[in-house]
């Protein structure tokens, strides 16, 4: 992740990836970094070195699965949410919303 938000976003990357995937049917690595950056207006920069290990971990945990597809003659690995991943995403989304709500209350945002 980008230096400026490194500490604050650390530990939430798994949730961010699950959340991004829940909004799309399938996504590939570069698309995730680009989409996260667009959504946060450049604030969140997911580095490749953080993204791929987490993607592989999530796949290993059965949260997501991948498929290689040919796009314009190129091999692209798309990631999809599994049922287990969808449940986890819903749970984490609720947790994050409650966490953000609590922070808002404390910081009077």
């Amino acid at each position: 992740m980008g230096k400026k938000n490194n500490k604050l976003y650390k530990g939430t990357l798994e949730n961010i990836i699950l959340q991004l995937l829940s909004k799309e049917v399938k996504m590939y690595g570069y698309q995730m970094t680009k989409h996260a950056k667009e959504l946060t207006k450049g604030e969140l920069e997911i580095t490749e070195g953080a993204l791929y290990p987490i993607l592989h971990k999530l796949e290993d945990d059965g949260m997501i699965y991948s498929e290689l597809q040919k796009v314009n003659g190129r091999d692209r690995k798309y990631y999809f949410l599994t049922q287990k991943g969808t449940k986890q995403q819903e749970k984490k989304e609720a947790e994050m919303k409650s966490f953000i709500g609590n922070l808002s209350a404390i910081f009077n945002v």
Partner: protein, 241 residues
């Protein structure tokens, strides 16, 4: 859209970084997208490629893993590969040692209920099983690879789940298991069978060693299984090399 020669330049660069092929395919796509993005901003490929390499510099920095004694170019791994391996292998280790623990508890229970001959047979079968299944999976993978790709098996790493030195750790496991067998001796099963009796600290030490080796064997099996699964996904891409 990148030309074939430009795509080849990217692939050759990533191959030089010794990345496992399944991870390489993803990184390659990421590289291509980033370069194309820069080229849309009026940059040439020759300008964009070094820019992207710079973005990946830290992640593609190569180091030697602590267990690699033979410090050749092939032994190096990138930071990206190391991080990815750490993420996936910790969980595999946890599963492996949980299975080893459950098995040990089961045998302690069986020791009180089974006659010794049956206990000995089942003990030997269960504790030898990881070796046989790992060797079988190793050969399945090697033959599938040879069918698809004519170059030697150790030309490149196919999967992030692959052990160090193209699964040479299996050989290490086999050798260690042989010496462990010599050390444990034939009477060991008997001492395990009568575990409810007073056992010496030496026997406990042997039991711990067997537990670790069994866990290691399960870990190797899990990794081979995952490696085979990953290999099946990239068969077409390996064939096209």
């Amino acid at each position: 859209m990148l030309s074939q020669s430009e795509q080849n330049k990217i692939r050759n660069y990533l191959f030089s970084k010794n990345l496992p092929f399944d991870l390489l395919l993803e990184v390659e796509d990421h590289f291509q997208e980033q370069i194309e993005n820069l080229m849309q901003k009026e940059m040439s490929f020759e300008e964009a490629f070094p820019e992207v390499k710079l973005l990946w510099k830290k992640d593609l920095k190569e180091t030697y893993p602590w267990h690699v004694l033979n410090r050749t170019e092939n032994g190096k791994i990138t930071l990206l590969e190391r991080r990815t391996k750490m993420e996936i292998e910790v969980k595999l280790l946890q599963i492996a040692f949980l299975v080893a623990l459950i098995t040990a508890i089961c045998f302690m229970f069986l020791g009180k209920h089974l006659p010794f001959s049956q206990f000995k047979t089942s003990f030997i079968i269960v504790y030898s099983l990881p070796l046989f299944t790992a060797v079988i999976m190793y050969f399945i993978k090697m033959f599938s690879y040879s069918k698809l790709y004519k170059k030697p098996y150790n030309t490149f790493k196919t999967s992030i789940y692959e052990g160090f030195g193209k699964d040479i750790d299996l050989l290490l496991y086999c050798s260690c298991l042989y010496f462990l067998h010599l050390w444990l001796g034939t009477d060991f099963v008997k001492s395990f069978y009568s575990v409810s009796d007073v056992v010496s600290s030496y026997t406990i030490l042997k039991g711990i060693a067997l537990f670790i080796f069994f866990g290691w064997g399960i870990f190797l099996n899990l990794r081979f299984y995952k490696s085979l699964q990953s290999f099946r996904k990239i068969k077409t891409q390996i064939k096209a090399l």
